[in-house]
Amino acid sequence: MPKDGGIGASSKRREDVRFLTGVGNYTDDINMHGQAHVFFLRSDVAHGTLTTVDTSAAADMPGVVQIFTGADFEAVGGMPCGWQVTDKHGEVMQEPRHPVLAHGKVRHVGEPIAAVVAETLEQARDAAEAIVVDIAELPAVMDMKAAVAEGAPKVHDDLTSNLCYDWGFVEENKDAVNKAFEEAAHVTTLELVNNRLVANPMEPRVAVGDYSRGTDEHTLFTTSQNPHVIRLLMGAFVLGIPEHKLRVVSPDVGGGFGTKIFHYQEEAFCTFAAKACNRPVKWTSSRTEAFMSDAHGRDHVTKIELALDADNNFTALRTDTYANMGAYLSTFAPSVPTWLHGTLMAGNYKTPLIYVNVKAVFTNTVPVDAYRGAGRPEATFQLERVVDKAARELGVDPIALRRQNFITEFPYATPVAVEYDTGDYHATMDKLEEMIDLPGFAARRKASEAKGKLRGLGVNCYIEACGIAPSNLVGQLGARAGLYESATVRVNATGGLVVMTGSHSHGQGHETSFAQVVAEMIGIDESMIEIVHGDTSKVPMGMGTYGSRSIAVGGSAMVRATEKIINKAKKIASHLLEASESDIELKDGAFSVAGTDKSVAWGDVTLAAYVPHNYPLEDIEPGLEETAFYDPSNFTYPSGAYACEVEVDPETGKVTIESFAAADDFGNIINPMIVTGQVHGGIAQGIGQALLENCAYDENGQLLSASYMDYAMPRADDLPMFDVDHSCQTPCTHNPLGVKGCGEAGAIGSPPAVVNAVVDALRSAGKEVTHIDMPLSPDRVWAAMQ
């Protein structure tokens, strides 16, 4: 066991020191010699034909270097989509061209029309005001159901309609599902909206492009969760730059939550313009720009039906969802409402028959893509809401109804194509019941009533799928990428290690937790290990961080690479100790010969690797550096049970969270402190979705919530302390660490708990409320009570 940590220790985060002293290195902190600044002139209408973009007056403004419009990007590629969905008829999705700068038409408020590069940002902004833009406005396509009706105006004139795809899953089950509904003893139906959200990492997006004329090399500094993915997409599909001439660096990144996965126009623009202008070009998003250019999340309209037999067993589930794609397909948008949503519809339950229909629709809004949980929160919300509603209709206890239908035997193959390897849903529910003092609820409700408040309790379960994989399977499902991860472990002569991981940390604390794993494996202190990420010139091709994949996939690659290191080091040690390799044991950073007191220290072996005087050169090469790529054989399946208690003020409709408890099963845990923090943050975002956040457009496509004055971010006084437990642990069976991932669980599990609790509170006052759409703002709750 390392002296300062190892697996299972709540090691303090090493990255904190630079963040706490103001010496982090975020992309906006990077300024290049000779750098110019770009300001994007963005569309202020949702849909229209560009009739004039006249930059002549602006070009003469002080400090202007060059102005670009859509015409300048006709010869380069459009923004690529990384996932192709095939619809229920076997047709591939409709995939419109997504230009770097708008050309011909604008299709959402915020779409960039022109880019002014100038000496200073202020000069760029001033010049942009002098650009003359005329747009012949067209009717905005906003409502998804109207968008796919006959004769609706089209977002893309060259597509047959606004329907991207009509996906059925599992199509072969459809008739059997329908039959089960005909034979059901009870059917519960619920129509709901999963509200559009904006991820809002606190660091706005930034891109700095640089070009070296002497070597023809491009560098892009960008706020990305996956710099290699940006290098591949931008290089191969947009700008035609080979990967060996393109370096992408994502240094300290201030939060991502999904929205920094995607390849954005501003990245391609800054890379392109740095060469065109022959000087570095920098763009820093304002918050308002972020609201109208960062990919949004969620935005589903769903009808879900649950069939039960006379004994309250779930017999079938049927869902029908309209999923908003926005005006263009963001990088992984098509996968979110399909393979990240439909495959999770079994939840924690042994429902034998499931059919999921998803219609993905183009509208004149910002593109929608993955946001923390991505498809899984949408699946969990509708399932856990309909189960709660069914319990009320049947007059049974909602926890008991869930327990009755729990999957209890593993591995379990669901009717929606995935196989859960492990889980214990009763155990997390048992833990939750212990945490929330269920018997005491009646007294707490009475106490609230004495104050004139209504008290409600909401409980739900969740299952999620992390560490998306394996590559050959996701390829069949339409992914245009592999989903492995890489790690290189470089041992230095003096014994310290540098681990280069293809995962990317933007708040998750990898520099600490990844070091814990390697420290544990070798038996050395964490302080001897440096974790490097976020630079394509240092790190082998990796896929980055999203979908709670880092420890499950990236951590596994790191384990494999470290195992190779240990194997080679043992060979060196056996030579130094003049013993058989099979007798060499590694413990506490020293190699010893089993059953003897002969040993050699870690540092002596690493020194021998690089100063190979006494070394088996005939058998092995000098040096101690190994790389591994790990392609997972299955997803991992974290699960849990969540509970929320609310008070509702019947006079105003104001909801306050009185308590929130989460019992999660993440399998094995590397750093409990970090895991707990991830759950806290996820719950806060889930409560934000449930009570506060809403990305709102008017019927003309104007974005109404484009600042923190209008978009209600959860603040400190909106939230309680959280009660979080992860002592229920069923380790993953197919990765070397037995880990499952914890980044998204909180955001997946918490919205239904909140809504279930508010409905429970209102019903305690005799209100016949069955559902309120999120966010449960005071006006909506008050209206529901009237």
Partner: protein, 161 residues
Amino acid sequence: MAQVSMTVNGKTASGEVEGRTLLSSFLRDTLKLTGTHVGCDTSQCGACVVHVDGVAVKSCTMLAAEADGADVATIEGQANADGSLNVIQQAFQDHHGLQCGFCTPGMVMSAAALLKENPKPSEGEVRAYLEGNICRCTGYHNIVKAIMAASGQDVSAIAAE
């Protein structure tokens, strides 16, 4: 352009600014003190909080020219003289009060201002005071806990980690 001069973290700092130059821009772009962050355009997020003459100020809301002659403190000047973390910074690390680190400078500066005016704040007082500091990562649980711990209060009863 006008010349401004101020004391920043105990040292004299001066530079040329436009009338519209914000204090946050002056600190970041002219003085290269990039620890002060800008997270919004509407003075809502609080990532840019610094102290001006001992008072917490959102530096994106103040013109650099207005700070002429002022005594400004930023996150870069908060550590102890020997470079170790100060009590608030150490409490943030001990209680995992930060994740991505972007809101953190503003949180630490706000926390320092709070504890100056209210040395032993209750949980509710901490939450109310942080109304102008948005964090997207932590759910505030560990930030509140860290600030209460920094004030010398026993936080062991607050849920683990």
